[in-house]
């Protein structure tokens, strides 16, 4: 039971940090489109299977996320 004074604040801190993370991501627009990225992921994999050299540049993803802001 002596551990409680340490564990409980830690648990609260952890919870708060997750909430903060969630707020941050929502505000940044990470959850705006939940359908397409899931599909896009499938595509990139398929292209790798086909050994295509011209698969999507990962940088483009970053750009588009910023752009989405």
């Amino acid at each position: 039971m002596e551990v409680l004074p340490i564990v409980i604040p830690l648990a609260i801190l952890l919870a708060l940090s997750f909430i903060a993370g969630f707020i941050w991501m929502t505000v940044r627009g990470q959850y705006d489109d939940l359908e397409t990225p899931a599909m896009r992921m499938l595509l990139e994999q398929e292209e790798m299977k086909n050994n295509e050299s011209d698969k999507l540049d990962p940088k483009k993803d970053m750009i588009s996320n910023k752009e989405r802001k």
């Binding site: 919870a15 969630f22 896009r40 588009s64």
Partner: protein, 788 residues
């Protein structure tokens, strides 16, 4: 029946590419074939592999690839209004694309930068069918739009409208934040509540209680605000909605929690109540999300403005967007183009198809001096029009206004849940008053008040409020997967009450285009009759020519000959010389040197599934009526073929007549596709627009079918009835749980612990009942599919 290689549509008469000698790849129309060729030419045939391996996201329809002009997109005034610079300072425009339907589309669109040098980045949002495209410094949006059009995705530029577009995004994010915070709050509170239930020592229990209060604060004061808002609105309008008892329980819960905190009693209902807020918000969020997928009325605004238009300047014609047209401008409208404004023809003669505006399927001939209306289609020759009325003042603009006011006049229905809310709230208030009085006689006022408050808290109609959005969400998503896009959830309840179905004829029950009905060869000509057709009609864009050409191709016309002295007389026919013989095609006959060689008749054919749908509706005790702006004989032929009896036919209906007929039938469902239907659609009890509808009727309708024809109408009614059954069962179940909590409260057995058990159990029961109930929906829908 075979399926189109490109769009998966069932094919009546397959057509094949010239290169495809073994006829392995059938197509439903030239549009799909063209797109197939374009995709192959660019070496993008992986598209079809991806399509095969992926689940179809939305049903797609046959492609129409009309060549269009897009250079108006490069005009500075257009760019200023429709584009913006992204963070990389690249000019960016958003397009709504028609025909986005599966993974392969995503692949194709996002590959754009690789085969189109203008494009820097292309991203697609599948849910909204919106592509965001940035071009290079010297890139042109006209090229992008042309390419998209060639690939079979008709592009509609979206105005960068900060106010609606971004507002919705902000709303969505706010809602998500509320849900997230409620979820986190509920989860953490549960942790401490469980410790308390398990019997934490008094000093710890007090600390845990304080922690739960801290976590509960943002849930009650931020996440739960929508409930207070709607409850307050309902009270202001002197009505009761289901949110009123919910807000009441939440407020009582907060009051009691704080009171206990201050008096040092470690009891509160925060664990149950925050979990409830979380679940309710979640169920509403999903319902909202599914309704906002696709286009809102606002997004559709730009559609009817159509595409580019050629305006006469001093020496030449300049392409502009119809939005920038002014009264007095002279515009040039080519064949098969939509007329963008009301006006008078200043030169040229042509045929006009005004079926979208009036329902009349036969083309009308016009010449210099005739009035023409926006929304009609110029069929044969180029004409010059002096603009007299634009936008709101035009005839179609007026219809649009009528549609909008029709929407406003349509009284919203009070759904079952909110109807019950009235009795529910009254019952709960009465019961807690009774409990208070009863306890007052048997103990202290303090204890009595406490018990009454508890009753208010634990009878929170969570399962009731949860059940309906959950069921509706499931139904709407099931329906949209089958190509039935239901714009708002109230429609489901209305659908289940429909007793009369009004069908428009052209484009709804029929294909909406002429096809050869009979063809008799009377005498062998010097060359094959079909070659005559192919050669003579080659240059004509008249609908009759189109029908004949298609027929000739299916009959194996192999080559087209050179034609001398070719002439086309609008409204009469075509003529020309082939190898010393003079040929004419006019009045349903084909002539060789003045002698008849063949007869033909044309008819707008009924869709093969129309008849089945009509008889299915009749079997469900729904009256089926046909309402059309077309002439009596045509309506009668088609209606009889569809199995509609004579007294149920309404031919020669103007848009206004349609409206008044619909208004006489209180529980009517109207199916239509043209602007002439739009007013009737906006005022009917439930309205359905079918694929290929003019954009105005899309705005007017409650439901949009992404597949052509009326085959889905019986399904719609069936699933709505099934859904209502599930909703009612859920309401009964949750009412039963509430009776249990009332009993417990009266027996004095209620405590935060019992509430923490009863409340989630009731929610879970309703959830299971919903899942089972909507599972039946799937069976209805798939059973139908097999039958077809």
């Amino acid at each position: 029946m075979s399926r189109c290689t490109h769009c998966d549509e069932d094919i009546l008469i397959p057509i094949f590419s010239d290169l495809d000698k073994d006829h392995k790849e059938p197509f439903c129309c030239n549009g799909c074939l063209t797109v197939f060729n374009v995709i192959n030419l660019k070496g993008l045939n992986q598209y079809y592999d991806i399509k095969k391996s992926s689940d179809v996201f939305k049903r797609r329809s046959p492609v129409e690839t009309k060549p269009q002009r897009f250079s108006y997109m490069d005009a500075p005034e257009f760019l200023a209004e429709y584009t913006y610079l992204n963070l990389q300072k690249q000019r960016t425009m958003e397009f709504y694309l028609e025909g986005i339907h599966c993974l392969a589309c995503l692949w194709l669109i996002e590959k754009l930068p690789e085969f189109l040098s203008d494009v820097e980045i292309a991203r697609l949002d599948m849910q909204k069918s919106v592509a965001t495209i940035s071009v290079k410094a010297d890139g042109k949006f006209s090229n992008v739009a042309r390419e998209l059009n060639n690939l079979g995705y008709k592009p509609h530029p979206l105005k960068r409208n900060q106010s609606t577009h971004d507002l919705r995004k902000q709303e969505d994010r706010k809602m998500l934040l509320k849900i997230g915070i409620a979820g986190a709050g509920a989860g953490n509170i549960m942790l401490y509540a469980v410790s308390n239930y398990a019997g934490a020592p008094a000093n710890l229990a007090q600390i845990f209680n304080v922690i739960s209060v801290v976590f509960a604060l943002p849930v009650f004061f931020y996440s739960a605000t929508p409930f207070y808002q709607t409850a307050w609105n309902a009270l202001k309008n002197r009505t009761l909605s289901i949110d009123v008892p919910i807000a009441m329980s939440l407020i009582m819960g907060v009051i009691m929690g704080f009171y206990h905190l201050l008096t040092g009693v470690p009891d509160n209902y925060f664990d149950s109540l925050t979990a409830l807020v979380f679940l309710l918000l979640l169920s509403r969020y999903f319902l909202n999300k599914i309704q906002n997928d696709g286009l809102t009325a606002n997004d559709l605004n730009f559609f009817y403005e159509g595409n580019s238009v050629l305006r006469k300047e001093a020496h030449n014609f300049v392409e502009i967007h119809p939005q920038f047209l002014k009264v007095g401008d002279v515009i040039k409208v080519g064949s098969n183009e939509m007329i963008p404004a009301d006006g008078k023809i200043t030169s040229g003669e042509s045929l006009i198809n005004s079926s979208l505006l009036t329902g009349e399927s036969r083309p009308e001939s016009v010449q210099s001096g005739s009035s023409v209306y926006s929304g009609t289609i110029n069929l044969t020759n180029e004409i010059l029009i002096e603009v007299e009325k634009t936008k709101e003042d035009s005839r179609i603009g007026k219809i649009l206004k009528a549609v909008e006011s029709g929407w406003l006049q349509k009284s919203p229905i009070v759904d079952v849940t909110n109807k019950i809310a009235k009795y529910f709230t009254a019952a709960v208030l009465l019961l807690s008053a009774a409990l208070f009085i009863y306890n007052l006689n048997h103990g202290s006022a303090h204890a009595a008040l406490e018990k009454a408050l508890t009753l208010l808290i634990v009878t929170c109609p969570c399962a009731m409020a949860l059940a309906t959005p959950m069921t509706l969400t499931r139904t709407l998503s099931r329906a949209s997967r089958k190509g039935m896009i239901i714009k708002n959830n109230e429609v489901i309840e209305k659908l289940s009450q429909v007793d009369t179905v009004f069908l428009d004829k052209t484009g709804t029950v029929t294909y909406g285009m002429l096809k050869v009905d009979t063809f008799n060869i009377i005498k062998e000509a010097a060359i094959s009759v079909f070659d005559i057709i192919a050669s003579l009609e080659k240059f004509s864009t008249h609908p009759v020519a189109g029908a004949l050409k298609e027929y000739a191709v299916t009959k194996g016309s192999s080559k087209s000959h050179d034609v001398a002295d070719y002439r086309e007389v609008p409204g009469i026919g075509v003529s020309g010389k082939i190898a010393n013989h003079f040929y004419e095609i006019r009045n349903g006959k084909i002539f060789e040197d003045g002698e008849v060689v063949a007869h033909f008749t044309l008819l707008d054919h009924i869709r093969p599934d129309s008849r089945a749908a009509v008889s299915e509706l009749k079997a469900m005790n729904v009256a089926v009526k046909m309402i059309s702006g077309d002439q009596k004989e045509i309506v009668e032929t088609i209606a009889t073929e569809a199995g509609i009896t004579k007294e149920h036919m309404f031919p020669d209906m103007s848009p206004e007549n349609k409206l008044s007929t619909i208004e006489k039938t209180p529980r009517s469902l109207m199916v239509g596709d043209g602007a002439n239907d739009a007013m009737a659609l906006s005022r009917s009890y439930v309205s359905v627009a079918v694929l290929g509808s003019l954009d105005i009727s899309l705005r007017a309708a409650d439901i949009y079918l992404t597949s052509p024809g009326i085959a889905h109408i019986p399904d719609l009614i069936k699933i709505s009835k099934e859904t209502m059954k599930v909703i009612k069962r859920n309401l009964i179940l949750s009412a039963m749980y509430n009776c249990v909590s009332v009993y417990l409260a009266f027996a004095g057995l209620i405590s935060p612990l019992t509430a923490a058990i009863v409340m989630p159990v009731s929610s879970v029961t309703v959830l299971i009942s919903t899942l089972i109930g909507t599972g039946d929906l799937n069976r209805i829908l798939s059973a139908n599919k097999e039958a077809k």
